[in-house]
């Protein structure tokens, strides 16, 4: 039986591989039904601004994002590669854990060009359940206020 820390680290790695493998339809399953997912910038967080770049409240909105990118949105083919740091885990009295981890996302365009697309941190609240850990809240805080065109895949 692995420790909570190992389980959480594995869970966060699996999330990244799911996205990097392009299995976007499986993305929302990492979240609780009413979870929130926010992509914002360090600048907005520091200024206490509620609007970032993406906000989903509930898995329905996450699934809509995926349907949109599959059938509505137009963009050039590319893939992401996440590299995440060791998560810092703070258990809470109710059994949930506040988890913070750093990430780098490289983007490879169909042209073959690979570059750093985003760096930042995940501020998560994870909840244990019968199927293992699930994300109750994920705030993706980008270091830069500038996004290179364009952001369509979940981070």
């Amino acid at each position: 039986m692995s420790s909570n820390a190992d389980q959480i680290a594995d869970f966060l790695e699996r999330y990244c591989h799911t996205l990097d493998d392009g299995l976007f339809e499986d993305w929302s399953a990492y979240f609780e039904e009413d979870a929130s997912y926010l992509v914002t910038t360090r600048q907005n967080v520091e200024a206490n601004m509620p609007i970032g770049i993406v906000l989903c409240e509930g898995r329905g909105m996450m699934d809509d994002r995926i349907k949109a990118l599959r059938i509505a949105n137009i963009f050039e083919n590319h893939t992401h590669r996440h590299v995440v740091g060791r998560p810092l885990i703070e258990p809470k009295p109710d059994g949930q854990c506040a988890v913070r981890s750093s990430f780098v996302i490289y983007r490879t365009m169909h042209t073959g060009q690979t570059e750093v697309f985003a760096t930042g941190r995940y501020d998560d609240v994870l909840k244990p359940g019968p199927q293992g850990w699930r994300i109750a809240q994920r705030r993706v805080v980008l270091d830069s206020r500038m996004v290179d065109t364009l952001m369509v895949y979940p981070l």
């Binding site: 600048q43 907005n44 609007i51 770049i53 509930g58 909105m61 949105n73 996004v147 065109t149």
Partner: protein
């Protein structure tokens, strides 16, 4: 020998033809800096809410030139070039700040908030040695001032003494609509920027292009969002440089709307799994639910349902442009209204569900036109003129309006 920009002859057809060379020629880019960005045009600088208090400082750009906006101790706004009068270094390094005076870090030249030099370090030398010459006079040095003027909470600036008064530059209808959306106690709800890989004019063109809206952006149709607001039109300013594109709720429903100002998410019934995205309320009684407004050359104001934002672009070279998004609400919003603005911000921005295609489409044009300096685009949807059309948005009238303005200010002739 390099060609000079003045040798560009505009193809016959006026604003219905745009030579692709204007998107990639560095000499034309330089000429735009002079004729447009340092010319008799008002440029977006910032919002008054960002420089609310004495000592507030906001840095920005007009074209390539770095700019400082300040509010002095008497509450007066000032604009100046962010370039020290000594050696030319940037004086203000932060995007936002609050200071009693401005000091260049290089040699500590110190300026009042209006840009006037107050003093320089070691003016009398050190221990009687060195120092400025006897005839050095601080009052003869300052940061280069620019004119500033405010409409609807927006601070504009110009290098030119010849720019007409701001409201005259904007025209009556443009000013009135800007005030409709922006003349309220504004509150910034979030900002970010997006690097787009195209010449700045392709964005200016794209945002005036109502022809592409439902063809390129298929989010609403894909999710069968039932929009009752498909009536709309295009209004061009008197000089055709600026425009408003709007869509209206069908008049049929107006009566019911007047009787209750309730949330109308039901009007946007759809196949969305997360329909809370489109919860909205009627902020105005003119039935306009979506609008986008441009101010020549680089400012955009949007009200998409209740998602109020200003966007502006800063050219970062001939084929790179930074697009800034500033999402807004009103201080008077209820928490529920603010929440709806927050949710609707998903529709636009760097990851906007309805509009993210605009981030890449302009680069497709940038790349598609490479090597075709002698070819031109064909812009005749809705006719050959740049005229308002208040019954249809299937027109490129506002795009022609932009190019009409561009040709005029740049002095390009057929």
């Amino acid at each position: 020998m390099e060609t000079t920009p003045c040798d560009l002859r505009w193809p016959a057809g006026g604003a219905t033809r745009v030579p692709y060379r204007v998107f990639s020629d560095p000499a034309i880019y330089q000429m735009e800096q002079e004729k447009i960005f340092r010319g008799p045009i008002w440029h977006y600088l910032c919002l008054t809410v960002e420089v609310k208090n004495p000592g507030d400082i906001r840095t920005t750009w007009i074209g390539d030139t770095p700019i400082i906006v300040t509010r002095d101790e008497n509450g007066e706004l000032h604009g100046m070039v962010n370039r020290c009068a000594h050696k030319g270094a940037l004086v203000c390094l932060k995007e936002r700040d609050n200071k009693k005076s401005l000091t260049c870090v290089y040699h500590a030249w110190n300026y009042k908030l209006d840009g006037q030099l107050r003093g320089v370090a070691f003016q009398k030398g050190v221990k009687g040695k060195g120092g400025m010459p006897e005839d050095f006079d601080v009052s003869k040095h300052r940061l280069q001032p620019i004119r500033v003027s405010v409409v609807a909470g927006i601070v504009f600036g110009t290098f030119s003494d010849e720019a007409p008064p701001l409201e005259e530059f904007l025209g009556d209808r443009i000013t009135a609509f800007l005030k409709r959306n922006m003349d309220h106690p504004l509150k910034i709800l979030g900002t970010h920027s997006q690097m787009i890989h195209n010449n700045w004019k392709l964005y200016a063109e794209n945002v005036r292009d109502s022809y592409h809206a439902t063809l390129l952006h298929t989010f609403y149709t894909t999710f069968k969002v039932n929009r009752l607001d498909m009536d709309g039109g295009i209004i061009l300013s008197e000089k055709k440089w600026h425009h408003i594109s709007y869509s209206k709720r069908a008049t049929l429903d107006a009566a019911a709307e007047y009787t209750s100002a309730e949330v109308h998410s039901a009007k946007y019934s759809s196949e969305l799994d997360g329909p809370q995205l489109l919860q909205a309320w009627d902020g105005f009684d003119d039935q306009i639910t979506h609008s986008i407004q441009t101010i020549f050359p680089t400012l955009v104001s949007q009200l998409t349902l209740n998602s109020l934002a200003v966007r502006f672009v800063v050219p970062r070279g001939v084929d790179k442009t930074e697009l800034y998004w500033i999402f807004l609400g009103y201080e008077t919003d209820t928490p529920e209204q603010e929440k709806m603005r927050v949710m609707q911000a998903n529709l636009t921005g760097a990851a906007g569900l309805v509009a993210l295609e605009d981030g890449c489409i302009n680069s497709f044009v940038q790349r598609g036109t490479r090597g075709s300096d002698d070819k031109a685009s064909f812009i005749e949807m809705g006719g050959k003129l740049a005229e308002s059309n208040e019954s249809s948005r299937a027109t490129e009238a506002a795009v022609r309006g932009f190019w009409h303005g561009y040709q005029t200010i740049m002095g390009f002739h057929e």
